[in-house]
Structures are given as structure tokens and as C-alpha cells.
Symmetry: C2
Subunit: 338 residues, 2 copies
DNA sequence: CTGTTAGCGCCTTCAG
DNA sequence: CTGAAGGCGCTAACAG
């Protein structure tokens, strides 16, 4: 097919070792030979086989990135960040979409191993610790992003969900809302669990009861956000405010609210986690939590590269603080005369 | 490190050839040996090295997917589709983001070649035909998606942009709008060019002039949509309607309109290409074009697999029809008394 | 500084 | 039906 290293060597009148040395920027090659080799490489349009290289050195220069939902802007932002860092260090990114499906996640992890990736970044779809425990034991560089893996000493970068959730819900309470509902991702993943925790903390701190009938959890995706919100709002005693636990759930919730003809915040107030870029157009929520998505991706990639360079570094857990944004409309208290 | 094929062979008391045959589902292996091998594979948790395999067979079972903007929902939907088809056929997807940067695109194509991918799907960032011409000559399976490559006989799946653009602009005209502006992607990529063509066709068919001062083009991204729209609207004689040429440009346009305090469609009407899922919430446009994004991805993947299976098949060009959606609000004609 | 050589792990003829 | 053996293209000792 295309030129191999031997062709280049022969044409340039040197050995394959020299060609290899030149191409991998190794020292100890005379300028003359180096130039001659480079010239020949250009002539032959030689492109080293990364496959052969990977086999030889028992490691590819690929970083595996397994995210749980590629349609979620949160993750696309992460992807961007990881790609940026990787590219800067001559790594490429092998992206897979586990689709919130633990089996797919496992399959992809296997695939990554079979492809000899240099390391991987994963947003776990469940707190499936055994797998990650094994990876750590195999000394495979891996970092968890966005979601914690329980009981495993590994690198991870996550947001401070409990605090942030508590803050936005507190804001609702301070604006006079009393029956606050929640639409959250499943408690199987740490984000769902922690955001529930923050919600509950806020209520308890203000002497309000945590009513199970006001809490709905499920897969963190738009259709589910719609269904859960519908369910919540069509109860005999619906909430007067809703806390949504992630951006896609928020979209679903907005759809439901819209369809029921309710107005925000007059009929129903909203506090959202993970607001998307475009929501500004609608100012739908009283208060929102914005995660530093790009930074999370960047930190995760950096952590991974560090571990690849130094497999013995102790595990690091980076916790980033989300930003809380309050809308002007939030000043409009509900107790005011209509 | 982990188990190799020879370990399995030894443990099972057979040759590596037999193990290989069993694992690749080849016939001509007695049931007894097959069972024994499978058992041993399980015991040893043997995971064949895809790298070694790729080197040996001179091809990996990876499909390269190079998209121009991973933050664009259009493409994430395509990614989903490609992944679904690939997985079904035991391929994995290697996703890269060219970021609308032709150099990155080239780099990634090189990377794909070096990784011996089975084939690739690319949304070209420019009509850089030489590269694709070369790929076709090298008999590398490749299909272009969303955007045409000029003068190259290759597989591609695109939308009928001219017709669709003409239709939505016609709709604006029929609703009484006369000064219709356009915010489009650069004419360097086929989508931008064709959508401009459709816009111009619609105007001309109705005897309206195509005014250069009402047309803005640039990179198809949100910030640019904002800037171009701002520019358009702050002219002495601004348009009374705008046609936006892709979903991200639309978001930018909405932001600009919003910021200027204009109302849709009373102050400014909007016809959008590629509406995003969530826009329903805002009903911002009179009429929108929705592309069958998932289907485009699916078709592209299918085309690619067909070509991998049969490299001599003549090139196919699939043109999909977008759907045009008209809002009720569009019935409100502009000439009606205010 | 440069060349020779031995594999990396797997598949695939070619014999048996 | 099964085994033995030769590479796929590259890098990393080890000699010169």
C-alpha cells in the first residue's frame, strides 16, 4: 500500500533505526542524515503506521473519552476541553457515547483496553465501583468526570453539587416558596444523589418538610424531565416551585410547564441546575446553577496526562464550585398582591 | 501484562491458530475444542489485542467520524446515528472535531489513515476537493455528510438546501415581507452557498431585488450569528424579516433581536434553517426548516459500510428532503392594521 | 552517532 | 479439522 519505514530507509541510504529516530525526534542523529531522511519522508509522503507503533510500544497515543450522553451540551463542552488539551500534547481523542447505559459503558471500557489507549476519562453511568477498582489495580490511567465513583481511590473531577443545590433551593425558599418540588436524575449516580441531598438540606434548614410526593427521579434526559414534571404538576396539590436537577431535565420541565399553560414564575417558579447557554432567551428560572463545564473537561484531561506521566502519583479529587446566577425576576415575591 | 493468545492456546492444549479461529467465529473447528477454548478464554479473561489484529489484517474495525462542530446539535444527532449503525455491525467510532478548521480536518484525516480506519465519514469544512480526490484514488472508503465536495465522485449524503431555503423565504414573501435579510454560513461550504441560492431564487421569483446590503455571511456559529444580525439590524434601513442559515446562527440572531428589544414577528420576522429541538418553547420563527439529522447520519454510515464491503460500487449521492414547518403565528400578515 | 536484529500479538497460508 | 511458522510496520536494545 503506502510507503513503509524500510522504503524510506533504503531511499535515504540509512537504516530503519535512523529513520525512526529522526521521526520520533530522538537526539543523536547528525544533522545531515536528519535532513536527508526528512526530505525522503516528504518525497514518499511517508506516514508512519500508528498501529504498528502502538503494538511495538504497547501503548497508543489515544485518550479514551466515554461520556454518558453526547446530546447533552454539558458533555459536548467537556469533549471540547479534553480535545483541546489532548491535541496540545499530541494525543488524539477516541470518543464514545455510553448513552446512560452501564452495559455500553463496560463494553467501551473493554474496547479502550483492547485498543491500548494511553488512558481514559469516563463519566460513569452508575456507581459501578468494581470495574473502576479493577482498572486502578491494573494501573490503567483513568479519571472520572462529573460523577463520583464510590469507594475507589482514583482521580476524579466533579462539581460541588450538594452546596450548589442547597443554594438555589434556599433562594426559592427565601422568595417565599413553600411547596418546592424536585425533578432529579437517578440517585444511582452521584450527581442525582448529591443534588437531592442539597435540596433536602435547604428545606430542613428552613424547617420545611421533605415530602416524598414532591420528589421525582429518573433518567436525566429531556423526555423524562417532561414526564416527571407533568406527573408532579398534575397532583391534587402541586408544588409552587420546582428544582430541576440537570439541563436536559430542565428542558423537559419547561416543555411540560409550557404545555400546561402555566406561567413562570407566577404559576410555578423554577430553579435549574446546569443551565444551557440559550436559556437566557427565556429567563425561565429564578435562579440557576452553571457548571464550569469546559474547566471540568480541562482539569480531567490534565489529571489524566499527569497520571500517564507518573502512574504513582496519589489520586486527586478535584471539586469545582459551580456558579449561582440569580435573575432579577426573582425579586418578585410571591406574597405580593396579584 | 494481560493474557495473550498463546497463553490461551497453551492452557487449552491447542494451537494459537485454533484459538484465533474460534474467536473470529471461523468454521472448521470441532465443537469440543471450541468449547474448551471459550472456557479458557473466560478463565483467563483473555482480551484480544485489537492493535495486533489491526496490524496483521491491515485494517482496524474503526470508523472515523470527523465533524465540524461538536457543539452543534445537528452533528451530535449525526454522531448518535453513526454510532448506532456502527455498533450494530461491530464497528467502533473514532470521533474528531475539526472545529470548522480546515487544517485540523486535514490533520485528522491523516490520523485516521495512520490508524488504518476501515473508513471515514466527514463533514468537510471547505470544498477542499484535492484531499478527497486523493482519498478516493487511494480507495479509502469515505463519505461526505451534510456538505458537498465539489468535482469529486464520492459518496455523500446532503440535504436539499436550495429548495428548502427557497420555500421558507417564499413563505416570508407571501406573508407580506419585502425587505428580507439573510444571515448565512460562508459560501465556501456548500450548505452556505446553496442556502443563499435558495434565498436569492425566492426573491427573484417574486420580482424582488437581491440586495447585498441585506446579506451577511460568516462562520456558522452562535457568536457570529449575533454579530451579523446586529450588523444587519442596525443599518439605516433594516430588514423587516431575516432568514437564518443554520441553527447556531439562529441562536445568535435571537440573542441580537432580544437584546435590541425587538419583537418577533411584529418588529422583525424570522425564518430559520435547522431549528433546534427546544425552540418550540419560544416559537420564535414564522417558518423553519428541520433537517432529518438522525437519518442523515444513518444513511452516511450505511453508505460507508456498503463501500467497505464493496469498494467498487459506484459513488452514491443521497439527497434528503428537509421538512418545512409553518407556525400559526405566520398567518398574521404584516399589512394588517396594528 | 549509526546499523542490526529481535520481537510486540495476532492471523493465515501451507502442510499434515 | 489442526498445528507450525512467517510476517504486518515499527522501536529499542545492543553492537559497532
Amino acid at each position: 500500500m503506502s510507503a513503509k519505514i524500510e522504503d524510506v530507509a533504503r531511499r535515504a541510504g540509512v537504516s530503519t533505526a535512523t529513520v525512526s529516530r529522526v521521526l520520533s525526534g530522538k537526539p543523536y542523529v547528525s544533522d545531515e542524515l536528519r535532513e536527508r531522511v526528512l526530505e525522503t519522508v516528504r518525497e514518499l509522503k511517508y506516514r508512519p503506521s500508528r498501529v504498528a507503533r502502538s503494538l511495538r510500544v504497547q501503548r497508543s497515543s489515544i485518550i479514551g473519552l466515554i461520556i454518558s450522553d453526547i446530546q447533552n451540551p454539558f458533555f459536548t463542552s467537556v469533549v471540547r476541553a479534553v480535545e483541546d488539551v489532548a491535541q496540545q500534547q499530541q494525543y488524539s481523542v477516541f470518543l464514545c457515547n455510553s448513552d446512560e447505559d452501564f452495559d455500553k459503558e463496560l463494553t467501551y471500557i473493554e474496547l479502550m483496553l483492547a485498543e491500548q489507549v494511553a488512558g481514559m476519562i469516563v463519566s460513569p453511568t452508575a456507581s459501578g465501583n468494581e470495574v473502576y477498582q479493577r482498572l486502578v489495580e491494573m494501573r490503567v490511567p483513568v479519571v472520572a468526570i462529573d460523577r463520583r465513583v464510590k469507594d475507589v481511590e482514583m482521580d476524579m473531577v466533579v462539581g460541588d453539587n450538594t452546596t450548589a443545590a442547597c443554594a438555589v433551593v434556599t433562594h426559592l425558599i427565601e422568595n417565599g416558596y413553600q411547596r418546592i418540588g424536585a425533578v432529579l436524575g437517578t440517585p444511582d449516580v452521584s450527581t442525582g444523589a448529591e443534588r437531592y441531598q442539597g435540596y433536602a438540606n435547604a428545606l430542613l434548614q428552613h424547617g420545611l418538610p421533605v415530602r416524598p410526593e414532591l420528589v421525582r427521579t429518573g433518567s436525566p434526559r429531556t423526555p423524562n424531565g417532561y414526564a416527571l414534571t407533568m406527573d408532579l404538576l398534575q397532583q391534587p396539590e402541586p408544588p409552587d416551585a420546582i428544582f430541576t436537577g440537570n439541563n436536559l431535565l430542565t428542558v423537559g420541565a419547561l416543555r411540560a410547564i409550557h404545555e400546561l399553560g402555566l406561567r413562570i414564575p407566577d404559576d410555578i417558579a423554577l430553579a435549574a441546575f446546569d443551565e444551557m447557554d440559550w436559556m437566557f432567551l427565556m429567563k425561565p428560572a429564578l435562579t440557576v446553577v452553571m457548571q464550569p463545564t469546559y474547566e471540568m473537561g480541562r482539569r480531567a484531561a490534565e489529571l489524566l496526562l499527569e497520571r500517564i506521566a507518573n502512574p504513582d502519583r496519589p489520586p486527586q479529587q478535584v471539586v469545582l464550585q459551580p456558579t449561582i446566577k440569580v435573575r432579577e425576576s426573582s425579586q418578585r415575591r410571591r406574597e405580593l398582591p396579584r
